[in-house]
Symmetry: D2
Subunit: 366 residues, 4 copies
């Protein structure tokens, strides 16, 4: 089946392996008339680029995007937008040692079980490099959302045991530290923890939080394509994500109705506001006009230098120490991937919603 | 858009409102030759039926399913299977009082924001009654999975503050208490907690856990249609679910690579087993042959008798006390819904995977 | 796979066998706020109902439609619309004789080759009764189109050797004869031809023509979901259709560029009109504002009384004479099916087009 | 909407404008283990390449394909296959003259009506150059079909008024003349006709016929995704196609049941053969094991030197003479496009069919 496609109206099709010639994405269904240039996409790609801090892999890629189609004189034309990024620094030799056995925590074994063959060069499509296409497409979706007044803020809520509490969050701090944490003091503690991790050749995980503002009420398609359901799928499709919760999430499971329900208040303009936002901006799978807030749990990077038990191609037990270039924590580079997947999901649902009411139809075709 | 459809090969289309004439589902793409009768579906519907314990709504519905098409002489024919359940005990008058204002924690407001109209009769499609179609379809998917050696065990991991620890789990207990908990002592405590809740006219939530065994390695479609991503969407599409985690989930975010990676061991038959299952049965979005294990966070029932603040149709502040027939906790009845959505997701991915390899094609067409 | 689903935004899922309990359709994605009642659908179903003239099967069905969901107080709510029609006059015994062999021109053999089983009761899903769901759904789509100023005229362009030339067409005649021909004299000749056919226990085919007016320019999604491509698929999906041509169609293949190109003229209001309409209302797969005109070739009814050669279940040669109740020509009853499929296709493309431009988005969300 | 995507299992996403940097396609869902190299694709692209005969445009493009992903050591890996062809000989200046008015028979006007903008460089996505992506993807599908024993023969049945009758067809002649006609004498006459056409600065159309052999019975998904319906859509999605007919097509509409029905005969091995093939290889939308035979009507090339009436950007009447590099007839280069679209459609349906029966499932997972 075709698992590299996403979206109903804003459809993306990503392609490319970690150690192939290039990676890229085709975006079909982007509305005509959206202002777009390569720089719009490049700023997103630069946020996921490796080698920018001691806490990410030293693999060196300029990750320069080319727009090959779909844009004319600075605006989208309504035709497919093809985006391509060359792979520059792939060293297949790095992977020779691992081609003979299955890395724990990686998808080597499951890809082989599925496809009956093995592409040992850096994990092929299961590599983090696959996310280049997501991020490039997400940049386009973000541009569209910005035009509609929607903005997305994404950051590291926690790294390993170091967490930022809700009242500590300072959005201005996010870009001031290499970890994307919204708190200078937390970032400092997290970096100390990461230094210790690396010394032990170990890795850690964390939690990414995302807050969407400006999304109008009414977005999301019940029953199965609920806003939260589509977000959950988009986020869980990111390689290292093991959990998703919206609003109070797992904490809500321990709460009571009287505490968890968000009271409605008049907003003075004939509409509603909610007194609290335990729900995380969605009721019945449809946006309620308050911020959409969710979190993604990211597992520790599976590539570690510590010796691990595994099995070789011949089914014999063996040991493995992974010595390639790897991120000690994936969270800082995952932030923009979460943001991109969020943008793609929201843009698609925003486009879908234009056909939900007869009065919308009449506005369009008046 | 069409949000009431799910699946790529095994497609379902559910329909029906809480207070309409009937609810149902059309299942298209079920393979021909699956043994199926109404009783197979009825046992699933009986598990979600209201009125079976003091902990569920006293609404009285026999929920008797009719197979209207797609089955001939006890087996599926490959054509669409239409399943219908009549609504019997709908009392629109119960809802008159709430038609004039928006219930906190419910989708009254968001449906109106989306569609520009209001169907006050029991929440329409946002009512839990919508899950009849899911459960009926899930019964068919479960039958298919059982034929392929896959089984699913689902239970209440926690209700409010009462949780069953992993080593307390006793599958035999699940059906022995009205809450679906795999522990007699936990169920007892939970019932005491629920009795107190109800006395206060309040409600609570909980966590449903699901364990799938017998699923072969290789199921799930990377990149976007990963096994865990599709499960997350299916589970988050259930009304009251606010979170999803697979394997160690949010706990993995605090772990380290050396602890979180599951070591591979030879199984003595030329294949692998994993020493642990922190991953929850999936690597790179593809099943790894070990049990698939995930949890869903369920919010407290929003319908409570306690007075709540809200806004009426005219934008004026008002109070509301919800006096209809409601479940004090949705978890026990949600168990079979989670199981149904799991079955539908797995069956679809199992069917999709048959076209993933040239050697499979040759086996089919030999 | 799920072949009984159609549409991207306006999705339909039809179900039901000729000799099962009922037939029906679920329509998902119909915009909220469309005025709709059972009578709107009944008038369409009455046009395809059997037994209304000597030229259609005497099978007696009232074909009364029930709306089971999706409509509240006379308008659509945005939720799935479930439509059901009971089967009344099915006589399985009629089919006993044919269950032991394969009818020429029918799908008995191919369904068995595909699904590995045989449902001999009237052809199951390959029966013309399957079109009840299409027509019911098409009635809803037609209502939506009418609201947007689009209307569809469909008629029998030819029956057997009797054809109506373009300048003979009189729309007022269509409903005045039982064959749906837009010419009284042609209808008379065709009826004489049909009487002769029936006397010989033979059957014949014909051509249905369809003209859509009021469709704005800009509808259709290049490259693959062109207006003409989607129409072709919709029309060829009707059981007996063997050909589709738009505008001059196969005649264009013999023409020259200078004759076949439609010159553009100013319409005096800053827009274009075409001097001619060889193209049939579409350029590059997108509607050009002129009438969309196409034809469907319908094969002779395969059920005939004349003795035919075939093979029985055991692979032995045998003869067959089909004595059941059958239409000597399917064209008159196919007219409304063609119209329904056209309406479904156009409505879906009209809805899709609302997300094609940034200025449309801004109109909807202003 | 996303109209540049096609397929359910074997999904393609084409991209690129006539006068952009490159054109290409991403193929997702190709089974792993299919032997594939660039040469396999190049032979198909060479068949549609311009400038190879006096009867095609002199635009000079090497049309060299690059495989950017999805293939490892000469075989597909199951991941997306990205194919790219650079545009070399685009001269935007050729199009300056036409950017100020709408070319009759072209999509200039409809693209502008749809998207609200105009990309005058060679028609953008409505140019024949868009078919590079189709043909490249079709080459992969053809390779897959060949592995399964299916082969496709495609040729020019007629060019302008010159037609090859069924009993004149000699497959060996097809590649011996620049028009792809299966008859040397017809090709000679057609070339004479074309020479006269060009002298008058006019153009002509023709009919492409396609014959598929080796397709097993049982392929095609009723009700809406019938083999013939999907083929019709695929073929009508090709720019210049105005009609599609399968088997006897429009001729069947004038026939009788007794003549048009294909009698069944035992094949001596417990299966059926058909005595004739009026149906064109499909019954009820499912392949019947006999050759699938259909025809596509291709309109005359709209770009002609003869003066035509049109309207300029300001809505004023004007004349146009098209002087760029154009094919006097599109049929010879359309042959491989028809073949590619056929291959893509059949491969997708062949893959879909692997999940249609429980016994197939058991074969795959045994």
């Amino acid at each position: 089946m075709a698992g590299s496609n996403l979206g109903t109206i804003l459809k993306i099709s990503t392609w490319g392996e970690s150690h192939g010639k290039a990676v890229g994405v085709v975006i079909d269904g982007c509305p005509a008339g959206l202002s777009l240039c390569e720089e719009d996409i490049q700023v997103f790609l630069d946020r996921r680029k490796p080698g920018t801090s001691p806490y990410s892999t030293p693999r060196s890629e300029s990750d320069t995007v080319q727009i090959l189609s779909g844009v004319f004189e600075g605006a989208t034309t309504g035709t497919p937008i093809s985006l391509l990024v060359q792979n520059e620094d792939y060293k297949s030799e790095d992977y020779d040692e691992i081609s003979s056995c299955y890395r724990p925590g990686h998808a080597d074994y499951t890809y082989e079980a599925k496809y009956g063959i093995r592409d040992p060069r850096g994990g092929g499509r299961s590599s983090g490099r696959e996310t280049v296409g997501r991020v490039a497409a997400g940049a386009v979706a973000s541009k569209l959302l910005a035009e509609m007044g929607v903005s997305i803020l994404t950051y590291a809520k926690s790294i390993g045991p170091v967490s930022v509490s809700d009242d500590e969050i300072d959005p201005d701090e996010i870009t001031k530290n290499p970890l994307g944490m919204p708190s200078a003091s937390a970032a400092k503690k997290a970096m100390e923890y990461l230094d210790a991790c690396r010394e032990k050749q170990d890795s850690c995980g964390g939690v990414v939080e995302c807050v969407v503002t400006g999304l109008p009420a009414g977005i999301g398609e019940p029953v199965f394509d609920k806003l939260d359901a589509d977000l959950a799928k988009a986020i869980l499709s990111i390689g290292a994500v093991k959990g998703f919760e919206i609003g109070d999430g797992f904490t809500a499971a321990k709460s009571t109705g009287s505490k968890n329900n968000d009271a409605f208040l008049p907003d003075g303009e004939g509409r509603l506001i909610k007194e609290t936002n335990h729900a995380g901006g969605t009721l019945g799978g449809i946006s309620d006009g308050s911020p959409v807030l969710f979190r993604a749990a990211i597992k520790p990077t599976p590539s570690i230098g510590i010796t691990q038990q595994t099995v070789d191609k011949n089914g014999q037990p063996t040991d493995i120490e992974i010595t390639g270039r790897h991120d000690p924590v994936i969270v800082p580079r995952a932030i923009v991937v979460v943001e991109a997947m969020t943008a793609l999901t929201l843009a698609d649902l925003l486009l879908l919603n234009t056909s939900s009411r007869m009065d919308y139809l009449k506005k369009v075709y008046e």
